[in-house]
């Protein structure tokens, strides 16, 4: 994937670019909003990472200008402003996701994967499948192999999100935001307990576990270990 990083802090930009290259992406960098907009509109870019406060042209204006040209390139906003309302402003301006600094690189990579995957249109499928685990969104039925699995409404939502991002890493914050719509970090890791309940429901009694914990990042639903 070709990713453009628009960030004025050169140390942060280089570090981010290095991490993204290690994850297998092609990376371009821009130090200000004007250059960023120029590259984003003149080259085939798959995803933009835009700092909110930029010299020459601020991040939100950059995104608005980009959207005004009709481009639907996914944009992830990085910001030192982390308030509830700042987030809403960022998303309203045309951003697809919002991450507050400081962030873990694992969190950023997970969100990038989610954004790139979102373009596939797989979210519209009626049935989701990971290995022998199957989830039917219409009948709300979950089966693994021949076994029917009973889940609570919230566990179903949790599993649906994990399956939609099957094979990707999903962070705790992403789960809190998407499944609960909470944009704050609880002081205790409440998500872990929900995950272990879900794991008990779908992996108990099977040889191959599907729900994996990714150390320092979050969780991943996939076939191999």
């Amino acid at each position: 994937m070709h990713i453009l990083v628009v960030e004025d802090d050169s140390v942060a930009r280089e570090y981010l670019a290095k991490a993204l290259r290690e994850a297998g992406h092609t990376v371009d960098g821009a130090a200000n909003g004007v250059d960023g907009l120029h590259i984003a509109t003149s080259q085939p870019i798959d995803l933009l990472i835009v700092d909110r406060m930029l010299p020459k042209l601020d991040g939100l204006t950059l995104i608005q200008s980009l959207r005004a040209t009709g481009r639907k390139t996914p944009v992830l906003i990085l910001s030192a402003l982390g308030d509830v309302d700042d987030r809403i402003t960022g998303l309203r301006a045309g951003g697809d996701d919002y991450l507050t600094k400081p962030y873990h690189i694992a969190e950023l990579l997970a969100r990038i994967d989610a954004l790139i995957r979102r373009g596939d249109g797989s979210s519209a499928d009626r049935k989701l499948r990971v290995a022998d685990l199957e989830l039917d969104r219409m009948t709300r039925r979950v089966t693994r192999g021949s076994k029917k699995i009973a889940l609570t409404a919230r566990e179903f939502q949790l599993l649906e999100f994990l399956m939609r991002h099957g094979g990707q890493v999903v962070t705790r914050t992403m789960l809190l935001e998407s499944v609960w719509d909470y944009h704050f970090d609880p002081q205790t890791n409440v998500i872990d307990v929900h995950i272990s309940r879900l794991r008990f429901a779908i992996d108990k009694g099977f040889d191959k576990p599907l729900l994996h914990t990714v150390r320092g990042a979050g969780y991943s639903l996939r076939e191999d270990s």
Partner: protein
């Protein structure tokens, strides 16, 4: 803002008074001027009519009488009349006086056609006075000229009196206007100077100063009271900001210090990779903790300053969702979790902040309870509106320290080993205040009961 020495002239009350008195002066001079013109016109016309009638009479007499009889008639009339009543003079073609009550043809002051105006020296007791006479001359057959006049001095005096009355009235109006303006202007100026002095002190940093207020309800005082209320709010906010900065400094210095220790440990580990790995993990954990603290502080400030978006929040769904989020955690800790939520309760507020407040209460309840305990989360309607109660059977908070823990960064000694920023209850307090909720901490015997009592609002 300095008020200059001659500021009086610039005060609005002075200008207003001046403008009004000018208007009044104009109106009164117009009125009196009209009266003057009318009176003067009538007086002049009357005199002219009188003279006209007399001239007409004399003409007729002249035609009826013989020349000598006419002269005798003039003599007779002249003797009957004092010059102050009427003036007669008949002169022959040579200009010699034949009959009349003035000795000779007067030096004309002003003449228009057959009309003329002249002054006559009249005996006034022992004194003499100049009197204005208005007269008309006409020529008789045979070259004789006749002059008939009237003393208009009294009428002139009346006109002059009217005129000076007019000027006096205008002058008085202006004087009263300017005087009143000065008095009013000085009063306002005095108050404005006092306010200006107070404002300057406030601007120089003394936020506790207030504008002087007298015990009246005039506009200036009402304004001063409102400004004082505003200053009160500004002082509170600036105090709140300072407290936040202080606690931010404190809350961030402590983990910064730990961060530095960890970094130094990693540097000092040399080749020991497991030691440096452990130190770096601690660095990462400390950064996370600092970020959490910073977020919490910012949210508290956000809630305290009240600058958040508000929407209609389904409180029932919110409490249910938070309760459901924490239930597995509580059960994991060996706690009984009971959530009783009355449905259909809505209020206007910020969903994220409310959810975080309830989550913080649930978090605390789990954190400060021992296995075997019981946590009850309740939402129900109450007399004033609605009430969220989170009750645990944990260690509780001593009655004398309950107010203290709502302030920033207070963790009781016995809980220092537990995770968290110590700002959880501070945020609950700020969110309660933002939503006009009354926050009550009670002894649940044993444990703590926290009640957020919302006032029924307009929506």
């Amino acid at each position: 803002v300095k008020i200059p020495k001659f500021a009086l002239l610039a005060t609005s009350s002075f200008r207003l008074a001046l403008a009004y008195s000018v208007v009044f002066a104009c109106v009164s001079s117009l009125l009196l001027g009209a009266v003057y013109l009318a009176v003067a016109g009538i007086v002049d016309r009357e005199t002219s009519n009188l003279i006209e009638a007399e001239v007409q009479g004399l003409r007729e007499q002249y035609l009826q009488l013989s020349h000598d009889d006419f002269i005798a008639l003039i003599h007779e009339r002249s003797e009957q009349q004092d010059v102050r009543g009427a003036v007669y003079l008949l002169v022959d073609p040579a200009g010699q006086a034949v009959a009349g009550n003035i000795p000779n043809w007067p030096a004309v002051v002003a003449a228009r056609g057959t009309w003329m105006q002249f002054t006559l020296t009249v005996a006034f007791g022992e004194d003499t006075r100049e009197h204005q006479i208005r007269a008309r001359q006409f020529v008789l057959p045979g070259g004789y000229r006749m002059l008939v006049g009237h003393d208009v001095q009294e009428r002139q005096d009346l006109k002059r009196l009217l005129l000076s009355g007019l000027f006096f009235a205008v002058f008085l109006t202006l004087l009263l206007g300017v005087g009143g303006g000065i008095l009013m202007g000085r009063r306002i100026l005095r108050e404005a100077r006092a306010m200006s002095a107070a404002s300057q002190q406030i601007m120089s940093g003394d936020l506790s100063r207030r504008l002087p207020v007298r015990n009246t309800n005039d506009e200036l005082n009402t304004l001063a009271r409102e400004i004082n209320a505003m200053l009160e709010k500004i002082e509170q906010l600036s105090l709140a900001m300072r407290t936040v900065l202080d606690s931010a400094a404190h809350d961030l210095r402590t983990p910064l210090n730990r961060l530095q220790r960890a970094a130094e440990a990693a540097l000092g580990a040399g080749g020991d990779s497991s030691q440096s790995q452990a130190a770096l993990e601690q660095v990462s954990a400390e950064v996370d903790a600092m970020r959490g603290t910073l977020d919490a502080l910012l949210r508290i400030v956000l809630a305290e300053t009240g600058t958040v978006e508000r929407e209609t929040v389904d409180l029932s769904a919110l409490v249910t969702s938070v309760a459901e989020l924490y239930e597995p955690l509580a059960q994991e800790h060996g706690l009984t979790w009971v959530a009783t939520v009355q449905s259909g309760i809505v209020l206007r507020g910020n969903r994220q902040l409310l959810a975080q407040a309830v989550a913080n209460l649930a978090d605390n309840a789990v954190k400060f309870s021992s296995p075997g305990g019981r946590i009850e989360v309740t939402l129900r309607e109450c007399a004033t509106g609605s009430e969220i109660t989170v009750q645990d059977t944990g260690i509780g908070i001593p009655a004398n320290r309950r107010a203290e823990v709502l302030g920033r960064r207070v963790r009781l000694e016995e809980t220092r080993h537990l995770p968290g920023s110590g700002l959880g209850l501070s945020l609950v307090a700020a969110v309660s205040k933002l939503h006009n909720a009354h926050l009550v901490l009670e002894d649940a015997e044993p444990g703590l009961r926290v009640r957020m009592i919302f006032q029924a609002s307009e929506s």
